[in-house]
Symmetry: C2
Subunit: 325 residues, 2 copies
């Protein structure tokens, strides 16, 4: 088997976690890091013994040794940066949400197809062992027909009106920043088309959703109750209720632990590794690229598009339109 | 202080719990139990040393020693039985929901006023020590501004299409049977007018809601996510999230335990009594009657009417109309 060479676009917190997780990645290594701030990229490169660091994205993208780029910039830049990678013929794993609206994603999908390049949204949650264990229990019908899914993600974020979370010009709000996790969790568990959805939101003075509550009815009869907040620290647990039991998964988007409860008995799973959990999606991308695939079957673009379309529709209900739209 | 004499109308499970709780009640005693089945009323009376038992409601209501009647029959009978008590000049504490729709309750309120009789819905949850402790913590601003309330109540009920839970003719469905608890919990905690609400439901073949999910936005910006089910055993916990912490209350409608978490610290309250928790509302009714009051300030009829109107509106959204309506 060959080795896939990665370039990292962006050198913030998420980039560092991703790079550090390469200690657990198969068939791939990080060969370069780029930031508009050379101090940041060279610091990150030195810390994780990455060969090259660049003070410009373009400079890194010219590097012919790089196969695939992980885009770790804020989500308002994902569209522009993915297009930039495609121009240089690089495959892309792009942080979530892959774009801030469906219009952007449709353009990216067309471009990826035109250029025969791999594109995947970095929804790492779908690849982590705890979630895979949960999905196995669901497939094995451990808890029977699923009736209710609950998940929430909330933290006390920086309320700076010009900052990433609160600024509509940067596609701020709880939904796009973290609401995508409960939505993705529900989508994975329900395994059905959305029949209808409803949303309630509290908005900031800047016009973004600081807290939202979403309920979804799926075609198979499952109901999901989801919430996200950038103003309140929530318990951040995923709960899946079935007619014969329940599955409980703390911090479901990055969980190392999942339990199933049925008729008084319980069974647990613990992921004992010290990775952040990004290694699993990175290994999957390596596997896809080595097999010359241009799309993941686990996280296909159609699924990302459905999610971005849903978030567009939810924002429409909440009356949130970004100034650049 | 005098003593209030109680008659119990109905001799089922809830009646027995209520009677047994008189070991903890101040200023009142149960003097009679009535059931259409004399075996049931005499059995219950013997077990709890209640003086008199009747095989007919009318017979008990003629008893001049009885001051107030606790109506413990299924909710589809509450309207009829409350009117019956009023005819005999008896005050009434009526199990929840006080009526199956607002039209019925408006008639009862008019009658109670005409006859100067006390009427209260037996929403015992509002009177229990754990809930009062929670309300104190909220008043003390322990968790700051409340942003999100979550509560659910679900159990695996008897799916008999003719039974109490599944039969629309008996005003069946999760909402009226147990959904009233999460709704009341949210109303107590939010302390604000409802701005808007949304509901999703899964219905049985008989046309009642086996599972429902409700979200409410209050005028003060608080959001509630509530659920009830008669087909799934839910975790049945109340959670109140504020900007500085959270309150967690297991089995919130009858809880003996409540915890507040703020900035890594926590404080707990445990109600060490062995009562079911019905004693608190009964003592409150005694206090009201001894003070010659015809309405409770803790559970006023306006509040019950708001709740029944809300449940009417929720049923309307779910498309559930009972055949007798």
């Amino acid at each position: 088997m060959g080795t896939i060479n990665w370039g990292i676009l962006g050198a913030g917190k998420i980039a560092e976690k991703f790079v550090s997780d390469f200690a657990f990645v198969e068939n791939g290594k990080v060969v370069a890091v780029a930031s508009r701030d050379i101090q940041k990229s060279s610091g990150l490169a030195a810390k994780y013994r990455v060969q090259k660091s660049y003070g410009s994205y373009h400079e890194m993208l010219k590097d012919p040794t790089i196969d695939v780029v992980y885009i770790a910039t804020p989500h308002n830049f994902h569209f522009e940066h993915t297009l930039m990678c495609f121009e240089y013929g690089k495959h892309v794993l792009c942080e979530k949400p892959i774009t801030v609206n469906a219009q952007q994603l449709r353009i990216l999908i067309t471009k990826a197809n035109e250029k025969n390049l791999f594109l995947m949204e970095a929804l790492w949650t779908a690849f982590i062992p705890s979630i895979r264990q949960m999905m196995d229990w669901i497939s094995e019908n451990r808890i029977g027909k699923i009736t209710l899914i609950q998940a929430e993600f909330g933290f006390i974020g920086n309320a700076d009106p010009n900052g990433r979370l609160y600024n509509p010009g940067l596609a701020g709000g709880a939904l796009l920043d973290i609401g995508i996790y409960p939505l993705t969790f529900a989508q994975m568990v329900a395994q059905s088309e959305i029949e209808s959805f409803q949303v309630q939101a509290v908005k900031s003075a800047t016009g973004i959703d600081v807290t939202n509550a979403i309920q979804i009815k799926y075609a198979n009869g499952t109901i999901a109750q989801l919430a996200s907040s950038v103003t309140t620290s929530l318990q951040n647990r995923g709960m899946v209720y079935g007619e014969h039991g329940r599955i409980e998964i703390p911090e479901f988007w990055k969980s190392k632990k999942v339990d199933v409860f049925t008729n008084g008995a319980s069974e647990g799973f613990v992921d004992g590794t010290s990775s952040w959990g990004y290694c699993h999606e990175a290994s999957h991308v390596n596997e896809m690229l080595l097999a010359k695939k241009h799309e993941s079957h686990v996280m296909p673009l159609s699924r990302s598009l459905q999610m971005v379309e849903l978030m567009d529709a939810l924002r429409n209900e909440m009356g949130i339109i970004y100034p650049f739209e």
